[in-house]
């Protein structure tokens, strides 16, 4: 129920402050909403030269990615990197979503109060470790471990593991918040009906918190798509479609970070085209979730 509706039911003329309040709030909202529009505009402006001279189809049909030769000789195929981004993200979500929700359940339902608090703190700290630290740890600890199984170590698998560790706190913390906001009454009713703890969780808590949890997963997916530095250091950066999880991949974000400082003219513009493609992926993701009936902002 909204404040708006409260107003109508009490039939009171809104005070002067209220009108100002609403104006300020609207302004803030429009400002917040305008940012992403500006970003897309910026990307389009920077990507335009490449889109014009190279043309969109070549970004999918060229034989490889070697953009430095100028618009004619250069090769601009983005598909392997698109696949790299999708696989790394999908893998990370497949791991982090269930584990994250499990952690949320742990803190909310299974752990004694103190232990739950500690676990919550640990998750908050995990969320604060910089991506460079994760990347470095992945480079010097994880990749050599994977290399023992199958060289070279820097691979899709390393990318998935590191990414999963990075987004798990987001899923866990936001899911926990969603579980906490389930009214006690729901849970008590379930208990009263004789359900075991498991039954209360799957029958009452999770369904009620479903919106918040889906939101958490979607937010984490967005974060995974956008991760740059850590993947740069552990994914191997070879532009290819991987045949196994042990093959190196390059994500589109890592590509931008890797090549931007050394790219001139059309190469640089081509990198912005990949940036636009990333935005498109996010927009599709948002569209999908809206079609599924939930905005990320409203559980």
């Amino acid at each position: 129920m909204l404040l708006n509706n409260c107003e109508q039911s009490v039939s009171r003329r809104p005070s002067g402050t209220d009108r100002w309040l609403e104006r300020i709030l609207r302004l803030a909202g429009i400002l917040a909403g305008a940012i992403v529009v500006l970003i897309v505009l910026f990307l389009v402006i920077e990507a335009w030269p490449a889109l014009q001279t190279v043309g969109l189809t070549r970004f999918f049909s060229d034989p490889s990615w070697h953009p430095a030769g100028g618009p004619e000789q250069g090769r601009f195929n983005l598909t392997p990197m698109l696949v790299g981004t999708l696989l790394a993200t999908a893998g990370a979500i497949a791991v982090a979503a269930p584990l994250g929700v499990a952690c949320a359940l742990f803190t909310r339902f299974y752990a004694p109060r103190r232990i739950g608090q500690v676990h919550h703190r640990v998750l908050e700290l995990l969320a604060g470790i910089p991506s460079v630290v994760y990347g470095f740890w992945g480079l010097v600890v994880l990749a050599p471990l994977i290399a023992k199984l199958q060289p070279p170590g820097q691979s899709l698998l390393a990318a998935i593991v590191i990414l999963a560790i990075m987004i798990l706190p987001t899923v866990a913390l936001l899911s926990e918040a969603a579980l906490r906001s389930v009214p006690q009454a729901h849970l008590q009713a379930a208990h009263a009906m004789g359900f075991s703890r498991l039954g209360v969780i799957f029958g009452a808590a999770l369904p009620a918190a479903r919106g918040g949890i889906v939101t958490a997963v979607l937010l984490a997916t967005g974060r995974a798509i956008g991760e740059t530095m850590a993947l740069l250091m552990v994914a191997g950066n070879v532009v290819q479609v991987p045949h196994s999880v042990f093959d190196p991949v390059r994500t589109m974000t890592a590509n931008i970070a890797l090549e931007l400082g050394y790219a001139m003219d059309h190469h640089r513009s081509a990198l912005f085209v990949s940036g636009l493609m990333l935005m498109l992926m996010i927009i599709v993701l948002v569209g999908l979730s809206e079609w599924m009936g939930r905005s990320w902002s409203r559980g």
Binding site: L25, S131, S295, S297
Partner: protein, 283 residues
């Protein structure tokens, strides 16, 4: 709907959940143990206050710490008011199917997924070049504000939505104006959600590298104003670990400091919020 209600499945589930929780904590300790093992020898009071020498391999991180805090301050000073206001707008004022509410939500959802490097490029173009701030702490802070906005708004909104309608009805029955109701009842009650959002946003901001490299820059001198360029802790960690030969030890030490900073901010935020609300935040 068949629900697993047996004792046996209950136990298995408990086991699984405990195992997962322990594994996550285990990974955390693995990483932190690594950090501590390689970095603790460089930690000292001098390290926190001295300026870096020899490309960061000697001396300390004093100016970098200050730059980081300033960038964070700018980020929060800008994003908290705008974020809170937008959250209030979305939770309390905009009709769910209204045009404005829907557009803002969609736009925020997309914003949440923008890669950090795109933020860096965008921030560089808008704040550093177009608005003329150059490489500066201000530019970095504003860019980070854009980045944490969706996170902040979402948490604040969840917090507001969790407040029972009874509060609003009671307020209306008492004849309170909307502003008064917001200020005195809803916002205080929604504080736990807000605090979570604040902490998550701070973590995200502190952990950022790519977005700051092109906005607040690389200079490791003590900043004299918000218009000076200033290196953040995460950029320093990156430089020491990947760019400067022999810098890893101090990179680890800096990472420990960053985690320490995070813990301090967490505790401070809870303490301040808790104190001013008379211990009403329950976990």
């Amino acid at each position: 709907m068949m629900l697993p209600t047996g004792q046996w499945s209950d136990r298995v589930m408990a086991l699984v959940v405990w195992a997962i929780a322990l594994m996550v904590v285990g990974v955390f300790f693995w990483i932190v143990a690594d950090l501590v093992r390689h970095g603790v020898e460089h930690l000292s009071w001098q390290f926190l206050t001295d300026s870096p020498r020899d490309a960061g391999r000697a001396g300390g991180i004093g100016p970098i710490l200050v730059s980081t805090l300033l960038i964070l301050a700018v980020c929060l000073a800008v994003s908290v008011p705008i974020g809170l206001a937008t959250a209030i707008l979305l939770a309390e004022f905009a009709r769910a199917d209204g045009w404005l509410g829907r557009s803002i939500r969609r736009s925020l959802d997309v914003l949440a997924g923008v890669p950090s490097i795109v933020f860096g490029l965008f921030g560089n173009a808008l704040f550093s070049i177009y608005l003329g701030m150059g490489f500066s702490i201000l530019s970095g802070g504003l860019t980070l504000a854009c980045m944490v906005l969706p996170l902040l708004i979402r948490s604040a909104e969840e917090g507001l939505l969790a407040v029972p309608d009874d509060y609003r009805k009671a307020g209306a029955a008492l004849g309170l104006s909307r502003s008064a109701m917001l200020w005195r009842i809803l916002l205080p009650a929604a504080t736990p959600g807000l605090v979570v959002g604040l902490i998550l946003s701070t973590s995200r901001a502190l952990a950022e590298t790519a977005a700051l490299l092109f906005t607040s820059g690389y200079v490791d001198r003590m900043p004299e104003s918000l218009f000076d360029s200033g290196r953040s802790l995460s950029i320093h960690i990156y430089d020491l670990a990947m760019n400067v030969p022999g810098g890893e030890g101090r990179a680890y030490a800096t990472a420990i400091v960053l985690l320490g900073l995070l813990i301090t901010i967490n505790i401070l935020t809870f303490w301040i919020a808790d104190r001013w609300l008379g211990g009403r935040i329950t976990r």
